[in-house]
Symmetry: C2
């Protein structure tokens, strides 16, 4: 198995991008973890990489296809992309916020191609996100309800 940092090095080099310390640090903060919010990444790099640089680096990584952002309810999170993980999607629990990755089937892939063709559309990427309740929450929680008394000037569920 290839070292993740090696892979980053290769990826940067192949795009004529510099191999720098901050980029390694940001990458490491992402590697092998659950998708994270920008805030979490910035915190993880605190003292080592400036906030503005984290943004610039994440932005670069996105353009290079090294990281991908996914929408988790109201916020977004970032994770290393398929080249560094395997292509997958997520089941997000609306109750506890847990993110469960899953692989996509060949049939599903085929469907997308079929849909795109019918619209004369050339697919370059896709996201599939499913929300619901994980086993733990499904059993202990009654179906989510919005109660009258509930404060509602807060964001919808993670």
């Amino acid at each position: 198995m290839v070292e993740p940092l090696e892979q980053l090095h290769t990826a940067l080099k192949s795009h004529n991008q510099s191999w720098t310390r901050p980029r390694q640090i940001v990458f490491s903060a992402l590697a092998g973890r659950e998708p994270q919010t920008m805030h979490e990444i910035v915190s993880a790099c605190a003292g080592q990489v400036d906030r503005a640089s984290v943004y610039r680096i994440i932005s670069l990584f996105e353009r290079l296809g090294i990281v991908e952002r996914l929408q988790i309810g109201w916020k977004y999170k970032l994770e290393l992309s398929d080249a560094f993980h395997s292509h997958h999607h997520h089941l997000t629990c609306l109750s506890c916020g847990r993110v469960i990755p899953f692989d996509e089937s060949a049939e599903l892939e085929g469907h997308l191609q079929h849909i795109a063709r019918s619209k004369n559309f050339v697919i370059q990427g896709h996201q599939l996100e499913i929300q619901g309740l994980c086993q733990a929450c499904a059993t202990k929680t009654a179906p989510a309800q919005v109660h009258k008394k509930t404060r509602n000037d807060m964001r919808p569920g993670r």
Copy 2:
């Protein structure tokens, strides 16, 4: 066909939520239009509903499943959800930004259920977004490239 506002009334009532003027206005700003940015919605309600209230109302609508947000490149947009439209997804052109809606097939739906079951997950909703090039752009545009000299402290996307 049911009046959209009637439908909103029913939806709010069924959740024990108040039927208020600001909510009707925000709803109307959304009804029958393309997905919009928060900014566009706030502008559409200018003078009628305060910005903070628009945020609170959209947030409520999301929790009630009245609106859904979808990621368009770096930004997000909001649209009325399936109950007020029909259930569908989008093909987004990375070149011109056009959004092409499409319906999902029964098979696709079946796949999702199958995947969820294998993880003991109860589905409550899902999003499927596809990016690529629409017919017009696919024919006239060469595939995007990342160049060395390109400034990289700007956002990716389109």
